[in-house]
C-alpha cells in the first residue's frame, strides 16, 4: 500500500502580460508513489520543478491537473478546512531554511507544543512529556534544557532538528523534506541525513527527499526520481540508476559530480515555457536522433524497475 500516490500531476504558471501570455510548465505529467518506510529522492537542478512538486504535495499550490491520492481520496480536490487540516497533519513539510522557519520570539517548547495541541495528538496532560520525547528522538538532549531555549541559542543543525521534531509531533505518514541540509555546515549534514534514515525505519514514514545532491541521494534514498524541465526523465532504485543510468541527462549530472570533463551544448534544466512537442533535453543531448525533436518520449521501463524518457536508450516497444 502506497502512503501517497501522485498521478499525472501538472502545474502551470502564467507569465507575461495580457497580450503575450505564456504558460510555464513547472511540473508536467509527473507520476510516482511514496511507500511507507522508504525514502524517495527527487533530484534535479534549480528550476527543474522539484520544489514545486513538494509544494503541490504539501497543498501550498493547487495543481493545474492530475491527482494526489492519499488515504483513498484525491487531496488535490479537498476544499473543506477540516479535511485540509487532517491532510496537513499527515503530510508534513520540512523546509530548507532552519533560520527562517522558526519563530525567533518563541521557545523550542512552543514550536513542538503547538501542533500537538492544534491536532489534539495527545491529551493536554501528556503534552509536556511528549515534547521531551520528541526532542530526544531527534537527538536534542537533554530535552528539558533544549525545550526552554530560543531559536537564536541553537546552531543551524539543532534548529533543523527542531523543525523535524515539529514535523514528527503529529505522527505523519509522509514527510516532504525540501533540501533540508543545503543550508547547514558540511560537518553536520550527515547527522541530519542519519536522523532521516533512523526515522524512516522506526516510524515507518514515507520520505520525499528533494535535493540537487546526487551523493546524498545515494546515501539515504531507496528510490530516485530525476527531474528535468518539469518532467521526470528517469526513475528507479537509486543504486541501479546511479550505477548505470539510462537517460543522457542523468549521465551528464553524474559526469559533473564525478569530475569528468564536460563538453556539451549549453542549455538549462529550467521549466519549459509553452513547450513544443519533442524531448526537452534534445538541444543538449549527445545521442539525439531526428524523432527526438518531434515527439515527446514517454517514460518507458527499459530495465526491471528502471524507467527513462528517452527514444534512444529506453525506446517504446
Amino acid at each position: 500500500m502506497s502512503a501517497l500516490e501522485v498521478r499525472d500531476l501538472s502545474k502551470n504558471f502564467a507569465v507575461g502580460g495580457a497580450l503575450r501570455r505564456s504558460q510555464v510548465h513547472a511540473v508536467d505529467d509527473v507520476s510516482f508513489s511514496l511507500q511507507p518506510g522508504t525514502i524517495t529522492a527527487l533530484v534535479g537542478e534549480s528550476g527543474s520543478g522539484k520544489s514545486t512538486v513538494a509544494r503541490l504535495l504539501a497543498r501550498l499550490y493547487d495543481p493545474t491537473s492530475g491527482s494526489v491520492l492519499f488515504d483513498g481520496g484525491d487531496v488535490a480536490r479537498v476544499r473543506r478546512r477540516k479535511d485540509v487540516l487532517r491532510y496537513r497533519s499527515q503530510v508534513q513539510l520540512i523546509f530548507q531554511d532552519p533560520f527562517g522557519s522558526l519563530n525567533p520570539v518563541k521557545t523550542v517548547r512552543h514550536h513542538i507544543e503547538r501542533p500537538l495541541r492544534i491536532h489534539r495528538v495527545v491529551p493536554p496532560a501528556q503534552v509536556e512529556g511528549r515534547v521531551h520525547e520528541l526532542l530526544s528522538t531527534v537527538g536534542l538532549v537533554p530535552p528539558e534544557e533544549v525545550a526552554a531555549k530560543y531559536p537564536h541559542e541553537l546552531s543551524g543543525g539543532q534548529r533543523q532538528r527542531v523543525s523535524i521534531a515539529r514535523a514528527l509531533a503529529v505522527e505523519p505518514k509522509v514527510v516532504l523534506a525540501d533540501e533540508p541540509t543545503s543550508m547547514l555546515d558540511v560537518s553536520i549534514r550527515i547527522g541530519i541525513l542519519n536522523l532521516m534514515l533512523k526515522l524512516k525505519d522506526e516510524h515507518d514514514i514515507a520520505f520525499l527527499y528533494v535535493t540537487h545532491d546526487l551523493a546524498s541521494a545515494r546515501y539515504i534514498a531507496d528510490d530516485i526520481l530525476v527531474m528535468y524541465a518539469g518532467q521526470i526523465v528517469e526513475r528507479g532504485p537509486v543504486e541501479q540508476v546511479l550505477a548505470d543510468p539510462l537517460h543522457p541527462y542523468t549521465r551528464l549530472l553524474l559526469a559533473a559530480v564525478h569530475g569528468e570533463r564536460i563538453d556539451e551544448r549549453r542549455g538549462s534544466a529550467s521549466a519549459a515555457v509553452d513547450p513544443a512537442e519533442g524531448c526537452r533535453f534534445v538541444s543538449r543531448c549527445p545521442l539525439a536522433v531526428p524523432v527526438c525533436s518531434v515527439m515527446t518520449p514517454p517514460l518507458v521501463e527499459a530495465r526491471p524497475g528502471q524507467s527513462a524518457r528517452c527514444h534512444v536508450t529506453a525506446p517504446a516497444t
Binding site: S155, N194, A215
Partner: protein, 327 residues
C-alpha cells in the same frame, strides 16, 4: 616539484582580524606562490572569507586587522595608503564573490560595466575598453556580442562568467574565488571550474580558492589549507591531504561527503557544531568535537583542553596543528 622556480606571491603571517570584540581570524599563516591554486576550506564562520577580504584589503569596519602582516611580493599591505591600495586592488589581486552574479548593475549593459572598471584603473578609450571586454568574454567562453546584453538577459552561469572575465581584465597576479560556484548547478559549476583552470594555464595567475566543498578542492587545488574557528589546522599538497589527512577535523570533513561509488556505508560526520568565536574553546579549539579527546588519557586530555596546538611541519609541505601528531 615543478621545474620552474616557484616564487612567493603572497605571504600572510600571524594575521589577526577582529569584528568588534570577536576575533574571527586568529594567527593565520599562509603563502601563495605564483601560478598555484591554493584552496582554503572550512565551514561557515571559520574565517576563510575574512582571510580573503584581508588579502584583498577590503575589510570594512567593524572588521579590522589587529595583528600580523600581509606581504604582496615582499611589500607589507598593512599600513599602505588608501590610494596605493586602490591601485593594488583589481590590478594585482582581483576577487570573484560568492553572490557575484548579483553584483552586476542591472540597468547597465555588460560592456559598459567593463568600461567603468577599466577606466577607473588605466587610461583607455571607451572604444578600446569595449573591444577588450569582448575579447575577455570570448576568453571565458561567451559570445563577444554579449557586451551589449543586460544582466537579466544572462543566466546565472553566464553572469558568473562575466564576473570572472572582469576579474581577469587587468591581468592580476592573484585571483581570489570566494565560493564562486556554490549558487550554481553542478553542470555549470564544472564548466566554470574547467574554464578557470584553462585560463590559469594561459595567463599564469595564482588562485586563492575558498569553499566549504573539500571534494572540489581535492580535484582543483595544488595545495589545501583547512580552517577551523579562525585558525589553520592543517595544510598540505592536495594529493597528500587526500591520502594522509592527519587532523581529526580534516578527517571528519572527509567523512562528511557520501561517495557516489563503492559500498554504501554509514558515515558519522562530526558531532557537535562549530564554536561561537565570541568565546572559543580553551586549548585546542576542536577539542569539544574531537573523537580523540577523552578524559581517560589524562595527560593528553589536559594538553588538549588547555594548550593551544601550534601548526608544525611534519613532512615537507604538510603542516598540522594537533597534539596527537608529533613532529
Amino acid at each position: 616539484m615543478s621545474a620552474v622556480a616557484t616564487k612567493t606571491l603572497i605571504e600572510v603571517q600571524g594575521l589577526q582580524v577582529e569584528y568588534g570584540r570577536v576575533r574571527a581570524v586568529d594567527g593565520v599563516d599562509l603563502t601563495i606562490d605564483t601560478g598555484e591554486i591554493l584552496g582554503l576550506a572550512g565551514e561557515s564562520g571559520c574565517g576563510k572569507s575574512t582571510v580573503a577580504n584581508a588579502v584583498m584589503q577590503i575589510l570594512r569596519p567593524p572588521a579590522h586587522i589587529v595583528g600580523g602582516s600581509i606581504r604582496f611580493q615582499g611589500e607589507d599591505l598593512v599600513g599602505k595608503s588608501a590610494e596605493e591600495l586602490r591601485k593594488y586592488r583589481w590590478r594585482n589581486v582581483s576577487m570573484v564573490f560568492q553572490s557575484a552574479m548579483n553584483a552586476l548593475n542591472p540597468v547597465m549593459r555588460v560592456g559598459d560595466q567593463f568600461v567603468d572598471m577599466m577606466r577607473a584603473h588605466e587610461h583607455i578609450s571607451k572604444h578600446h575598453a569595449i573591444v577588450r571586454a569582448g575579447e575577455l568574454l570570448d576568453l571565458v567562453g561567451m559570445d563577444k556580442r554579449r557586451v551589449r546584453a543586460y544582466p537579466h538577459e544572462l543566466s546565472g552561469g553566464m553572469r558568473q562568467r562575466v564576473i570572472i572575465a572582469m576579474a581577469l581584465a587587468l591581468n592580476p597576479e592573484l585571483v581570489i574565488l570566494d565560493e564562486p560556484t556554490t549558487a550554481l548547478d553542478v553542470v555549470v559549476q564544472r564548466e566554470i571550474l574547467q574554464e578557470v583552470e584553462a585560463l590559469k594555464r594561459d595567463f599564469g595567475f595564482a588562485v586563492l580558492f575558498i569553499t566549504h566543498d573539500l571534494s572540489l578542492l581535492l580535484e582543483f587545488a595544488d595545495r589545501i589549507a583547512i580552517m577551523y574557528a579562525g585558525e589553520i589546522v592543517e595544510s598540505a599538497p592536495a594529493s597528500r591531504l587526500a591520502e594522509n589527512a592527519l587532523h581529526p577535523y580534516t578527517q571528519g570533513l572527509m567523512r562528511s561527503f557520501p561517495p557516489l561509488t563503492g559500498p554504501r556505508v554509514r558515515l558519522t560526520g562530526i558531532p557537535g557544531a562549530p564554536p561561537e568565536l565570541r568565546e572559543p574553546p580553551s586549548g585546542c579549539r576542536f577539542h569539544p568535537r574531537c573523537p580523540h579527546c577523552v578524559p581517560e588519557d589524562a595527560a593528553l586530555y589536559l594538553r588538549q583542553t588547555t594548550e593551544r596546538p601550534r601548526l608544525r611541519e611534519i613532512e615537507p609541505g604538510h603542516s598540522v596543528a594537533c597534539h596527537l601528531v608529533e613532529a
